[in-house]
Amino acid sequence: MSQKILVADDEPNIVISLEYLLKREGYTVRVARDGQEALDAIASELPDLVLLDVMMPRKTGFEVCQAVRAVEAWRGLKILMLTAKGRETDVAKGLAMGADAYMTKPFSTRGLVQKVADMLAAAP
């Protein structure tokens, strides 16, 4: 059974690429268009990894991150934050909120795929 990835981003123009790319790599991909939808999706079926955008309506990526880490059952969930916020303080905040890795937009898709693969391989 293939590993499950949730893509949470409100911009369809990036979601279309990410969805296509990750499906092509053999993952099962679901999409959430804002923070609340992402939390609901995680609750309904726990994925192995979330690609989480910071700037989203309803709930920001930081809030989602915090909410996920507050639930013991979701401990194994990997979080990769994607954001246009490039300041070091933002990176520090993301990691402090419980993200496993942080990528700043723009990024190369190959780099992203590699990162996802590494993170999932390191999973217990």
């Binding site: 123009n13 990036i14 990410l18 092509r24 246009a84 490039g86 723009p106």
Partner: protein
């Protein structure tokens, strides 16, 4: 009388002594005689006793006459001299005595006169020195105040209690902008001599700044100062710099502050510019990042060999969409930054005409060309660095003169589409654009004066533009500079400062001497208090019957000085008709109050104006009754002590028939201007109050409490409204 008794006593003693002496002589002669001879002697002398007595009286008279003369000469003359000398001792003006009596007394009198003259001379000398010293001190104070008045930075000097001793007109303008009711009190309710700076700034904030200044002083800092930024009630952002005022002696020791100087800078506009710049920058980086990410991902998908045509179309659409998005964003940014971002070079506001005249003078000074100023719009205010700009104009003119033998140059200034166009025009020889446009890149050199700056630098400093243009039809060519205009607010401020030609009473250094503020107001001397002297005009005399205030006028007395500059005058729309019969009294017509604010707006401003002061009014009970009746609707109470010049005039002059304001003013010989406007009456009342204070002091009335008690005892105090 006392002297006479003494003289009589002496004369009595002398008479007795002479009688005893006569008796003894007779007894002595008798004792040496034989009994027979004694018989004979007695027979001879016996019947002639009265003769002996007569001789005694005669001798006594003679001796008395001599004694009285001597007494007059040697005892009363010195006594008179003593009295005269006593008078001399107490005399405050130069005076001499005229001695009588013996040569010694006369000489003594002359010596005393010399001593007195010496003393008077010394006294005059000291007085002159004091006058001179205080004159030069006064001069220095005036010079300082004049200097402050001319500064374009806001300066406020306070004593340690936060009372304002000095402020300049720029500060007044700035505080006016901070006022919540700027049109009503003209900012005078916020800034004024003797007012508390804590009405504007948080006390804690100022205390904190003072503390850090003190710490720096203690560490031995050469020029200790502190800075803070604060927002005011009206939402303005002020940057404040504080420097200590140290008392003269022992300036090395810390903790000898006598006050502080605040320099204020309204940074609201700069801050807004800064925020806008940040916002634009932020928008550019963050939003571009995600657009770029979207594009990069889509392009990388497009590069995949196994992409089907449908997905290919979709990825192409993403790239197209994002490119479009980014172009729009960049265009928007360029537009906003052009209008919103100002250059960081410090600029000054300057009237366009002044700039052209200055440039004209510089060009004329080159010696070989004439310059003409034409078409100047006097209302144009520029925001420029005038020095470098005039340098650039002169430099270009000099090259035209030297290299193309141009003899006449014209300067023109106009406003086109919210920007200023400054043209340097000449006619004659045709030259190529390339030639003249290289000039803008050369370092400027005018005669022996040279600078590394180029014309281009100057233009960029202004965030402007500059080019060369030809008008073939008129055989003219010109350099055109596009320059920023001053904003409306800056124009206003600059114009107001220039028009402010009177040098007002903006300072009172005597306030450095602080009174013990903690001691109850009641026991403080009348001379040390701050007063708001006010008057109201009303629709009638019956406050409870619905009459209303239609004008409030007020002025301030601080430290015994009348501050005419810090006055309050406002018409009030009463909301009822002004009875026609009252119009001749106050001169206020229905037309005048139309469109004026209602009392609900005016009273809060007046309340702030009058805070921390003692109220003074003529027949105060009348005005206070109106204010009291407004308490319910406005929620504003005037709880400060009230002094009534009518009652206190009656205290000082109980025998005068009239205590009307006109009558008192006439008694004090006060010139009455604008009587029966609220402010005019308030001014007269203020002068009356100034005259009453010393007269009350002569009667032993020194404090507020004493004045109030005295006033309550007068007949007039029994009137009720």
């Amino acid at each position: 009388m006392k002297l006479d008794r003494r003289l009589a006593l002496i004369l009595g003693a002398v008479g007795l002594a002479m009688a005893v002496w006569l008796g003894l002589t007779v007894l002595l002669v008798g004792a040496t005689l034989e009994p027979a001879q004694r018989e004979q002697f007695n027979a001879v002398l016996g019947p002639r006793w009265p003769l002996l007595g007569l001789s005694w009286v005669l001798a006594l008279v003679a001796v008395s006459a001599a004694l009285v003369t001597l007494y007059r000469r040697y005892a009363s003359a010195p006594a008179r001299l003593l009295e005269q000398t006593r008078v001399l001792l107490a005399a405050t003006v130069a005076q001499q005595i005229t001695p009588q009596g013996t040569a010694e007394t006369l000489a003594l009198g002359v010596a005393i006169n010399e001593l007195a003259a010496q003393r008077d001379h010394l006294r005059a000398d000291v007085a002159q020195q004091i006058a001179q010293a205080s004159f030069s001190v006064q001069q220095e104070k005036n010079r300082l105040a004049a200097l402050m008045a001319e500064l374009t930075q806001s300066v406020v000097v306070c004593n340690l209690d936060g009372r304002i001793l000095l402020y300049n007109s720029r500060a007044r303008l700035q505080f006016r902008a901070l006022s919540t009711a700027p049109t009503l009190a003209d900012g005078a309710e916020m800034i004024g001599i003797g007012r508390s700076i804590y009405a504007v700034f948080d006390r804690q904030l100022v205390a904190h700044a003072l503390e850090s200044v003190n710490q720096r002083l203690a560490r031995g800092a050469a020029s200790p100062s502190a800075q803070f930024v604060t927002t005011t009630r009206s939402g303005q952002l002020l940057r404040v710099q504080m420097a200590p005022v140290r008392s003269g002696e022992g300036a090395d020791a810390p903790g000898d502050l006598s006050g502080f100087v605040l320099m204020l800078d309204n940074v609201t506009r700069a801050f807004e510019d800064e925020s806008l710049r940040d916002q634009l920058l932020h928008g550019l980086t963050e939003r571009s990042r995600s657009s770029l990410a979207n594009m990069q991902a889509a392009i990388e998908m497009l590069a995949l060999p196994d992409l089907d045509p449908v997905m290919r179309e979709r990825f192409l659409a993403v790239v197209h969409d994002e490119v479009h998005e980014m172009s729009g964003r960049v265009a928007d940014l360029a537009k906003r930054s052009a209008s919103g971002l100002k250059t960081r070079w410090p600029m000054e506001e300057m009237q366009g005409a002044d700039l052209l005249l200055a440039a004209q003078r510089r060009i004329q000074a080159l010696g070989s060309a004439s310059a003409v100023v034409e078409d100047v719009d006097a209302s144009v205010w520029l925001r420029v660095d005038s020095f470098s700009l005039i340098q650039a104009l002169t430099y270009l003119a000099a090259r035209l003169v030297d290299e193309f033998a141009v003899r006449t140059l014209r300067l023109r200034l106009q406003v086109v589409q919210g920007r200023a166009q400054l043209d340097l025009i000449w006619s004659g020889q045709v030259m190529s654009t390339e030639t003249v446009m290289t000039w803008e890149m050369d370092p400027m050199r005018i005669g022996s004066e040279s600078t590394p700056l180029t014309v281009r630098d100057v233009v960029e400093r202004h965030g402007g533009e500059m080019w060369f243009e030809r008008e073939r039809v008129r055989h003219e060519a010109f350099f055109r500079f596009i320059l920023p205009l001053a904003s409306a607010q800056e124009q206003l401020e600059a114009a107001q400062i220039m028009q402010n030609d009177s040098r007002p009473e903006y300072y009172d250094f005597d306030l450095f001497k602080t009174y013990d503020e903690s001691s109850a107001l009641d026991d403080r001397p009348l001379t040390s208090l701050s007063y708001t002297v006010f008057d109201t005009e009303t629709t009638g005399l019956n406050p409870t019957g619905g009459d209303q205030i239609i004008q409030i006028g007020a002025t301030r007395i601080v430290n015994g000085k009348l501050l005419r500059q810090e006055s309050f005058e406002q018409l009030v729309n009463p909301g009822i008709l002004i009875p026609a019969i009252t119009i001749p009294i106050h001169g206020i017509t229905q037309d005048m109050v139309r469109g004026q604010p209602r009392i609900g707006e005016v009273l809060p401003a007046f309340h702030v104006f009058a805070q921390d002061t003692v109220l003074v009014a003529h027949n105060a009970a009348f005005d206070m009754r109106f204010l009291q009746l407004l308490e319910a609707s406005t929620g504003l109470a005037f709880h400060q002590p009230v002094m009534d010049t009518l009652l206190l005039s009656a205290v000082v002059h109980p025998n005068q028939a009239s205590h009307r304001l006109e009558a008192i003013a006439e008694r004090f010989n006060i010139t009455v201007l604008g009587r029966h406007t609220a402010l005019g009456d308030a001014m007269v009342t203020a002068e009356v109050w100034q005259r009453l204070i010393p007269l009350l002091a002569e009667m032993g009335i020194h404090t507020l409490r004493q004045a109030r008690e005295a006033a309550q005892k007068t007949y007039y105090a029994r009137l009720k409204y």
